[in-house]
Symmetry: C2
Subunit: 216 residues, 2 copies
Amino acid sequence: MAGKKVLIIYAHQEPRSFNGCLKKVAVETLSKQGCSVTVSDLYAMDFEPRATRNDITGPLSNPEVFSYGVEAYEACKKQSLTSDIVDEQKKVQEADLVIFQFPLYWFSVPAILKGWMDRVLCQGFAFDLPGFYDSGFLKGKLALLSITTGSTAEMYTKTGVSGDFKYFLWPLQISFAPETASEEERKQMVASWAQRLETIWKEVPIPCTHSWYFGQ
Amino acid sequence: MAGKKVLIIYAHQEPRSFNGCLKKVAVETLSKQGCSVTVSDLYAMDFEPRATRNDITGPLSNPEVFSYGVEAYEACKKQSLTSDIVDEQKKVQEADLVIFQFPLYWFSVPAILKGWMDRVLCQGFAFDLPGFYDSGFLKGKLALLSITTGSTAEMYTKTGVSGDFKYFLWPLQISFAPETASEEERKQMVASWAQRLETIWKEVPIPCTHSWYFGQ
């Protein structure tokens, strides 16, 4: 949709991977719609995943006993978070839609992307108490997880070795096992991804009270 | 139980935190039993969470298109994984019980611990195909997740704001909201943790076919 702003958080090491392809298609499809698209290429940025006291540039609120959650919250309010966090927060703030593009690692996001979530979505930026999710600051934005897996779709069914996928992550777009799929199947996956992006703006935010729900 | 080997994967920045306390109690309780206990203090080690080509010390099997899973698997077989991964794999291999001690970040493990899982538990070490989980190489070992949360137990019920906790992680030991608990309640949490460790060797591995099941 023309004028919309999209942020793609992309977590794959290889531009020529299937993930790289899905990212590229997303940029193209959405740009053609007139959206402005920004990509955070986490591996290329060598994004820091560890939540440490280095994330706070000013003095600590309690230098005796370090609590990351408390210090990040205070630093967020005082605008003394480290610049790589602030840069990402600005991108999120401006975005109407945030797409997470990644391969599934151990039933979840790769550590580099988990680090993005841990550090960027801090209290004071993404949510605050007592409202918590109900009055989340990102309410109204769309989020979409586009995932590739190593295992086939059959393995992620109720009776499959890995269990029913629907319990892991939602909302999502899954490209099952592109590495073992045929060229035709891979093209179909890319086409189905592009197709979803064509109508992404008609999707309704999840009917729950959470501002964003990552599901894990 | 005397003679047993325990590995604690500990992911907290502050030794004087509640997590630090639970880690300390675990070391003490298990050592008193005659166990030998090893701790991987991930933040103190500045453990690398990112899965990158730096993890492979030899030549890549496909230098044209980098696939982390493929390259880590090959490097594992050729013994050319980087030393910080190999060190952790040796500790896991020797352990009868692995305890993960961490604060819950966004309904999951902190990124630094996710990175430990992503990088250490590679194909060829933790599992292989076609057996996958059924013939997992860590089968028979015990694993236990000891977690602290920011939210109270009420928030993690079916009708609570965060949903029923049982769907997140299992097996587990949860210390709910130690920061807002009374001193008496905190002591009770520590005691219940020590108590569980007293009888940890009587616990039966989870009745499922997975070698380890992290639940996320």
